[in-house]
């Protein structure tokens, strides 16, 4: 499927090539191919349990595939030493599904954390930088709050400020819209778009929110059963005739992804003594 993915003439920023990954005997990916173009918003969609978050962990080098190659900025992530991997991670931001803020420090310190760890900035400069990032996500006024005092949407915006504080070239979003009210969803959607457009941050969104993704993604991959079953821009996916794509895009409860978990015969099970 990915063969027809030519969204940019530049080499892809993230290139996942024929990746096989299994946990024990359970195969998660069996020949996955995904390419992320520079400066674009690429979405990875698919039903729950298809390994979307696992793909992000593979891209970040937290886990290593059994076979295949994942290159980020042209570097083979699986072959990097810890020091090289950490250097690469400084160029990539990751927004966790739950924000993953450090609960022992304030919003300000959370956003300042990566800078304090990686750069020696004078405190007044650091303060300005953090306040600018918090202003970008609309939470400058919440700088002194603790993470426990934030709503889910606010926590995610703080995490977004933290993810962009080191000015990454790529931002990976893990289910950025899950569990948010419509207003917060809209805010995050607008932020993702503006970060992409104004800061030219290449964005990878892992999500199953068809509407939101359709609104902002330049290119979408649909995963199912460990492979890419379809890819293209949102309009192309909506036109796709395959049953899997149709079921996912329309939210039909039954189809190639069955409503029922595999089980013994219903009647036989009810009638057995």
């Amino acid at each position: 499927m990915s063969d027809r993915t030519e969204v940019s003439s530049q080499p892809p920023l993230i290139d996942v090539q024929d990746v096989h990954y299994a946990v024990g005997t359970h195969s998660v990916f069996s020949g996955l191919n995904v390419r992320v173009a520079v400066g674009k918003i690429t979405a990875i969609m698919g039903p729950s349990g298809t390994g979307k978050t696992t793909l992000l962990r593979l891209i970040m080098g937290q886990i290593v595939p059994q076979s295949g190659r994942i290159s980020v900025f042209g570097q083979d992530v699986g072959a990097l030493k810890r020091r090289e991997l950490y250097a690469l991670r400084q160029r990539v931001g990751l927004l966790f599904q739950n924000g993953a803020l450090l609960t022992g420090m304030s919003v300000f310190d959370n956003v300042a954390f990566p800078v304090r760890e990686h750069a020696r900035l004078p405190e007044p400069v650091l303060r300005k930088l953090v306040l600018m990032k918090l202003q970008a996500v609309g939470l400058r006024g919440a700088a002194e709050l603790m993470p426990s005092e934030l709503s889910g949407g606010m926590a995610r915006r703080v995490a977004l400020a933290r993810a962009i504080v080191m000015d990454p070239e790529v931002l990976l979003y893990d289910e950025p819209f899950v569990g948010l009210d419509p207003i917060s969803k809209g805010v995050i959607l607008r932020l993702i778009q503006s970060l992409n457009k104004t800061l030219h941050i290449t964005s990878v969104l892992v999500s199953h929110d068809v509407q939101e993704i359709s609104a902002i993604a330049d290119h979408t991959y649909l995963l199912s059963s460990g492979v890419v079953v379809a890819d293209g821009n949102p309009a192309e996916l909506k036109q796709d005739a395959s049953a899997v794509v149709h079921q996912f895009m329309t939210g039909a409860p039954d189809g190639p992804v069955p409503f029922h978990y595999p089980a013994a015969d219903y009647n036989a099970q009810l009638l057995e003594r």
Binding site: M60, F96, N98, L101, E117, R162
Partner: protein, 255 residues
Amino acid sequence: MSASAARGQAIRSNLIKIGAVTRFLLRVLGQALPALSRPRLLIEQIYNAGARSLVIIMLCGLFVGMVLGLQGYDLLARFGSESALGVAAALGLIRELGPVLTALLFAGRAGTALASEIGLMRATDQLTAMEMMAVDPVRYVVAPRFLGGFIAMPLLTAIFDCIGIYGTQLIGVVMMRIPTGTFWSQTVNSVELRDIREGVIKSLVFGLACSLIAVYEGYYAEPTAEGVGLATTRTVVTSAVMVLMLDYVLTAAFL
């Protein structure tokens, strides 16, 4: 599976666990110097493990000393040697009870707090988030907590010993009317530097063991509520067993 095969399997898995803990210790020690270069983080952890355990350590030290006073007086009175109460209590506390009881209390108070804190950070993706921000959680989270516990233990032991001896003095001098001069002069004359050295070495070893067990269990806790609970329980149980085992080995080595 035959009984011998099961035994072999158990020995093998225990050896693997010991290997894993040793490797983890080396990794933590490798990050100890960078952790020392951040005194603020370290002082915070010494405060958490040490100062926050002070009340329970002092209270227990006082009562242990007072019980030693009562029991010791009763025993020594049978031989007409009540005046040796101070010596008996001081030696017992400095060489044995101080380090061991402080370590057991430390495991229950500070060890569980460490394990559950780190375990919860694991369960809420905070450790993973650090890794993704290219910050080694062993350097930022584990090493300062390990060092904090390791440094706090001998200090807590010294305080436990002092309060314990004061407790014995309360019983011996104030209640049982042993002359103050006799009590203290015998104590000071009989406690030697090697007794204190034994206590200090024991407390350092226990500090290393208890802190290591706590941070290891927390760091490798299953990222679930149940997993964090189990890690906390394992911290107390393993620490208690290790402290008592190590105490036997060290006592045998010092005698």
